[in-house]
Symmetry: C2
């Protein structure tokens, strides 16, 4: 919570899925940068957060990968699976449900 304040649990996953839903295909390093720009630098995740998450999401069948050689090195491209799309919808729903409930609690006291 040092760099990014609290309330971060689940947010990295949600943002990654959302970006991949909009962009069709991205590689890890690109995602790291895109998270910063998409959130107006409100959220800024390091590679140490993003890469392990990508691997976990792939292992869960939410993402599929494609390794493409760029010169002498290999870029790993990620894309959503059908399961990943469903997961994105569920998470988005949950995010808004919770957000609405907390907001109501904050205003009504």
């Amino acid at each position: 919570m040092a760099a990014n304040p609290p309330f971060m649990s689940g947010v990295p996953e949600l943002l990654i899925l959302s970006l991949l839903n909009a962009r069709e295909e991205m590689y890890g390093y690109e995602i790291v940068a895109a998270i910063g720009t998409a959130t107006g630098a409100v959220v800024s995740l390091k590679e140490g957060v993003v890469y392990p998450l990508l691997h976990a999401l792939e292992a869960d069948g939410l993402l599929k990968t494609q390794r493409r050689p760029i010169g002498a090195r290999i870029r790993v491209y990620y894309a959503l699976t059908a399961k990943g799309v469903r997961r994105l919808f569920d998470l988005t729903d949950e995010w808004r449900r919770l957000g609405g409930a907390v907001e109501r609690a904050l205003t009504t006291g």
Copy 2:
């Protein structure tokens, strides 16, 4: 939210501070119930979550307590300190900042 509860980090603290800001004074068991009703049962925290948090918040000087005997037992009433009020404002701000940023990321893709 049953098995894996995403998006919950920081929320218990925020809700407790918010309730105490509106209600002036509450005891633990009361807070547990109030969180359920204030969020329309979207958030439902058990005592095992709330009590340790209350102790931690008190230790941090965000809450002050008053032990009052009710018959043969003792009720522990909690109230916000000035520091607690500040913390509530900061957290609320942060919550909305992050909420806005994520929402924008979700819609603009």
